[in-house]
Amino acid sequence: MNGATSLAQRMLAKPWIWAYIAAAMVWLASVVITGGSAAPGLLTAALTFGSFFTLVAIGQMFVITLGPGNVDLSIPGTMVLAATVAIKTMDGDAAMIPVGLALALLVGIAVGFFNFALIRLLRIPPIIATLSSSFIILSVAIVWNRGLRIKPPEILGDFPSADVLGFPIIALLVIGLAVIMHVMLTRTIYGRSVTAIGQNPRAARLSGVNVERVRLTAYVACALFASLAGFLLASFSGGAALNMGDPYLLTSIAVVVIGGTSVAGGFGNVPGLWGAALFLFLLAAMLNTLGFGEGVRQVLTGVIVIVVIVVASFRRAPD
């Protein structure tokens, strides 16, 4: 009994647990509302869409953990450009998939380097640097795209919705990636360096961390994950659209913070990303099911996000 309470207490002290509790509550509420009929389908959809949110948020989490002011606002632009380049290159031909994927990832790497060059060489604050670069990236995507609507190769279009025993493959991949990135953040020198820089860049530098290289890697990784998400999303939704990345700007930040990562940096958290991604998707789905109009849905989403943050703040260790 005693052991059980202390386990419960230890679980509740985890910063990521609230995202999962919130997700579970919303899921239960949806199941009750629909009389249980939507339960399995809802989970599959949540896992599929949650994969895109989580994939993008992993990169954003590393950037935000670098410390105050670090955030990547170019994620939507990167997604669109990577998807546009890949879809246009593949032109519906399955044999070109590796080339398309490689080009998409190259776009991500290039964007990451460009962002960091603005931040490091021109000393532009990251928020403004990534905002400006997103304008340029979006322009390139517009010019490249020219309003063409090319379908992805069929086999690729089927991939994100494919499943193993009812479990979406894409969710398995992103869960695997999250595990790797969790180990990376908590157990490797690189991950510890990211955290150290977020807590005190000067102390990190003095203790021998190559601060600039670590920051560069985080921005490149963030853009890389965004480009992969763009590639997969375009495959999933039947082509690249110029507005496909828009919801991911604010959602990526919301997922990171609801997942228990500190916005002030220095404390990253991977497990919470999945919880928060599932929570946000299930919340949107539930409000849809309830048949509210768009306005009421938006208001409730905002209020619930704030309530989760406030409730979680009471569980924070007093300092």
Partner: protein, 308 residues
């Protein structure tokens, strides 16, 4: 020239360069009506930028200001037009809500980015409930105020100078303004000196709410009708305007006059690109490039200063 002076002049210089380029490309803009057309949308944008600046002064960031401006414009176009008393009450309620957010953020030490992110959904949702489709009507007095044609000097210029002046005197010259900026510089020191941090945060958030509401009304007066989403770009533009105007994200280092100039620069950069007959596909990218160039120039000036 002293680098510090040069740095302080950078926002004005950037604006002058862009303005000069516009005058060169389109000589007919050097007229009463030309300037009026060129600058009238700078009035709401600079008010929104000031709102953002108030929040940035206390080291926070507001990701909801665009949605909020849309909501207040929506209130102006519906409630304020149909039942003025209710409209005024709703607008006051919005400002009070902003102040309460400041209190909540201070009390629970919440990250402002997330709270305002959540609020952006709330404001947008309320605006959509109020105005499901674009429409409504601007009150007649608001319309005639914003389209006023005073003699000699075009109205937008007067409005921008007045707005920048009031904010500058309040925040940079008044004793309490120094305390407010001190909260961004060193909150603990301000608290030890006996000032209430809660009061300071509530003041700054309420001021942001007030400036945001005025931005909504100004935008409504210019456009004649409202749309729940038409001010959403203001969120990112206002942040860029504060930084272009010489403000910094932390430390309470802000400049109200700079913020207004920054907002006007952003707006005119857009006009300049149109006059340059740049293909529309590249316009948004060129706007990003202008932002980068202006900020990079500032770094050059700073480096020159450090070398001495």
């Amino acid at each position: 020239m002293e680098p510090r002076v040069l740095r302080a002049l950078m926002p004005a210089l950037s604006l002058a360069v862009i303005l000069a380029a516009i005058f060169y490309l389109r000589p007919n803009t050097v007229s009463y009506f030309g300037l009026n057309l060129l600058l009238n949308l700078a009035v709401p944008l600079s008010l929104a930028t000031l709102a953002q600046m108030f929040i940035i002064t206390v080291n926070d960031l507001d990701l909801s200001i665009g949605a909020y401006v849309g909501l207040t414009a929506g209130i102006g176009a519906t409630l304020l037009q149909d039942t003025p008393v209710l409209g005024v009450a709703a607008l006051i309620g919005c400002v009070v809500a902003y102040g309460a957010l400041g209190a909540l953020i201070h009390w629970r030490r919440l990250p402002s980015i997330v709270v305002t992110l959540g609020m952006s959904f709330v404001w947008l949702g309320l605006a959509v409930i109020l105005l499901p489709t674009p429409g409504g009507t601007a009150p007649e007095w608001l319309r005639s105020l914003m389209t006023m044609k005073p003699e000699l000097i075009p109205f937008p210029i007067i409005a921008l100078v007045v707005v920048a002046g009031i904010a500058h005197v309040g925040l940079m010259w008044s004793p309490y303004g120094a305390v407010l900026r001190g909260v961004g510089g060193n909150a603990r020191a301000v608290q030890r000196a006996g000032w209430s941090l809660l009061k300071a945060k509530v003041t700054m958030y309420a001021l942001a709410g007030l400036a945001g509401a005025l931005a909504g009304l100004a935008l409504l007066g210019l456009s004649g009708a409202a749309d729940a989403r038409f001010a959403l770009p203001y969120t990112l533009l206002s942040i860029a305007g504060v930084i272009l105007g010489g403000g910094e994200f932390v430390g309470g280092r802000v400049s109200p006059i700079g913020a207004v100039i920054g907002a006007a620069t952003l707006l005119l950069a857009g006009s300049l690109l149109t006059f340059l007959k740049l293909p529309p596909d590249w316009q948004i990218g060129a706007q990003g490039a202008i932002l980068i160039i202006v900020l990079a120039l500032r770094v050059l000036v700073d480096r020159g200063g450090r070398r001495r």
